[in-house]
């Protein structure tokens, strides 16, 4: 009899423990979902606002779904919103950003790969010093270089041009691209280069036949990192561009802050989404590599 009570008590307390555990679990999920809402809210508001008419924005609530979906704001943002005196929407600037980002990403990645290969696998005296100097160069606040850079671009005849911006992004991007490739190649045993040397292969042959085929993951990480950095750049864009060559971030800021006419929040939001779309897309498609780049770019060495 007493045995029986003890047993039921045990079961009871175990059940109690289970109930507590399940309750905690639920609490955990509720918390996590609340946080998810916090992170999603701005995106949600941006999207819904961009699909509303101005009339509805003025009368309705910020977080309400649009009663009537309209894409007018999107087409305005894309092709006719005013960025100062010009009223051609984001489209030309979106292309500017592509024309800047694509070559800059390609050039800085190629240079980073070669530099990283040299530093990690062909170590010579002073290579570590060079690496430290390059690494530190990617940490400076760029404010400290924009004044002389503006003058040098002027002297080279590149002031306010897209090649000028490509140049700037390459120069200040190679620190990071070198870091990425160096840290990747440094994990590859040096014996591989030795074996290939004995096999008769030279510097470029070894890079091309042995290291490059190994590098796909780090190329993806680097390309994504560079693309995100360059696409999202604002400081260089606003400092070194002129009316026709501004990147999309500068144009977005101009649309939002243009004082002419009625404040068209829906157009602002549509423009913001358009400007964010390429990098968001990259993030959604290749998030794993994006995160790897972020962590590699911060946990250094």
């Amino acid at each position: 009899m007493s045995d029986f009570t003890v047993a039921t008590q045990a079961i009871g307390s175990r059940r109690q423990g289970n109930v507590k555990r399940i309750a905690l679990r639920w609490l955990l999920y509720v918390l996590l979902c609340l946080f998810a809402l916090y992170y999603l809210l701005p995106l949600f508001v941006m999207i819904t606002t961009s699909l509303k008419s101005l009339e509805e924005i003025r009368t309705g609530s910020l977080v309400a779904l649009p009663r009537e979906i309209t894409f007018d704001a999107w087409s305005t943002a894309w092709s006719s919103a005013c960025t100062g005196i010009q009223c051609e929407g984001l489209r030309p600037f979106f292309w500017n950003s592509i024309l800047i980002a694509v070559p800059a990403v390609v050039i800085s990645t190629v240079l980073g790969a070669l530099n990283g290969y040299v530093i990690a696998q062909w170590r010579f005296r002073g290579a570590n010093m060079i690496f430290s100097l390059m690494l530190f160069g990617s940490f400076i606040p760029f404010q400290v270089v924009i004044l002389p850079m503006a003058r040098v671009l002027g002297m080279m005849g590149l002031a306010g041009t897209i090649p000028g911006l490509i140049f700037v992004h390459v120069v200040y991007g190679i620190g990071f691209t070198t870091l990425f490739f160096r840290n990747y190649y440094v994990t590859i045993p040096h014996e591989l280069v030795k074996a290939a040397k004995v096999d008769g292969a030279g510097f470029f042959r070894i890079f091309w036949s042995i290291f490059l085929p190994l590098s796909l993951p780090i190329i993806v990480v680097t390309v994504i990192w560079q693309f995100t950095q360059i696409w999202n750049d604002f400081l260089f864009g606003i400092s070194f561009s002129q009316a026709g060559t501004q990147p999309v971030t500068v144009a977005l800021n101009n649309i939002v802050n243009s004082t002419t006419g009625v404040k068209a929040y829906n157009v602002d939001m549509a423009a913001a989404i358009i400007a964010a779309l390429p990098t968001l897309l990259v993030y959604v498609v290749a998030g794993k590599y994006f995160i790897r780049g972020l962590t590699a770019g911060s946990v250094k060495g």
Binding site: F124, G287, G301
Partner: protein, 296 residues
């Protein structure tokens, strides 16, 4: 023939250096040369055009007497301090919550981290709309019946800097979460198992074993956030434009305004050098120790 083979031998031996040389030269010139140039100009009377006669620290005197720079520095302390502390706390909390074998971890992680993929200009634009007193959060809450509710930080010179904190934390905390999560996962599982066998409660395992072993990650997160805070420029421009007045100026926006709108190169250079010095003081020891441990 002999000459050619000597030439090719020489090339073969020096090709790694030759490959590295252009990048290194570029960094030397465009990073270190330019820092030197800015440093030089910060010691002159340069205004609209740079002058090269060194006159001493007058630009720095002017800088530290300028009330606007004073505001910018104060804002950097407030913004930097809150931004770093809140992002770290939130990031750590999210990482620990996500570390509880959550089934939907992948999706949640994606959601927490996506702001990091967006331009700060976009972030600023979005929050500017959400926080605007006319139609934003204030409007909603008044709509719920709290007629006297006020939330006008964006246009209130006293509180505007906190809106920058809100947007900054939203953008960066997911990234801190990712760093911490990676750190939690890298803790030796056998230690955790040993602690579980010893009957130590989960909260205690975190506070006494796991978190202390992540000290290097705290340092990395701190350095990255500090660095972001000092360089913050886009976010302020997009969110408040440095206003109202210059209530939300940061050193970065101050420098830009002086350089490009006010045409005061001397002041811009000296403020840039101060920023540089701060970053230098934080990043150099960090990079130095990281590189040294790596090389050993």
């Amino acid at each position: 023939m002999k000459g050619a083979s000597i030439m090719s031998e020489w090339l073969e031996r020096h090709i790694p250096k030759l490959v590295l040389a252009p990048s290194f030269a570029a960094i030397l010139l465009f990073v270190y040369g330019f820092i030197a140039w800015t440093g030089w100009v910060s010691l002159t009377r340069s205004r609209l055009l740079p002058k090269y006669d060194i006159v001493g620290f007058i630009q720095y005197d002017r800088l530290f007497q300028s009330p606007r720079w004073d505001t910018a520095l104060n804002n950097l302390y407030v913004f930097g301090g809150l931004f770093i502390v809140i992002s770290m706390a939130l990031g750590l909390l999210l990482a620990i919550l996500l570390d509880q074998k959550i089934r939907t971890e992948g999706v949640l992680r994606t959601i927490y981290l996506y702001p990091m993929a967006m331009s700060l200009i976009v972030t600023g634009t979005a929050w500017k709309w959400i926080l605007n007193p006319g139609l934003g959060v204030e409007h909603i809450i008044r709509g719920w019946g709290f007629e006297s509710f006020r939330f006008d930080w964006l246009v209130n010179p006293k509180f505007a800097i906190y809106t920058v904190v809100i947007a900054g934390v939203w953008q960066a905390s997911g990234f801190v979460m990712a760093l911490f999560l990676a750190g939690l996962r890298s803790v030796d599982e056998e230690i955790i198992k040993a602690a579980q066998v010893d009957g130590i409660p989960t909260a205690r395992i975190y506070s006494a074993i796991i978190i202390p072993s992540m000290a290097p990650i705290f340092l990395s997160a701190f350095i990255v956030l500090m660095h972001l805070a000092i360089k913050s420029f886009d976010l302020v421009i997009a969110l408040t434009g440095g206003g109202p007045g210059y209530a939300t100026d940061l050193p970065a926006t101050y420098m830009y305004a002086l350089a490009f709108s006010r045409g005061d190169i001397g002041q811009a250079a000296s403020s840039a050098m101060v920023m540089m010095a701060v970053v230098f003081a934080i990043v150099v020891p960090y990079l130095y120790s990281e590189l040294r441990t790596r090389n050993e």
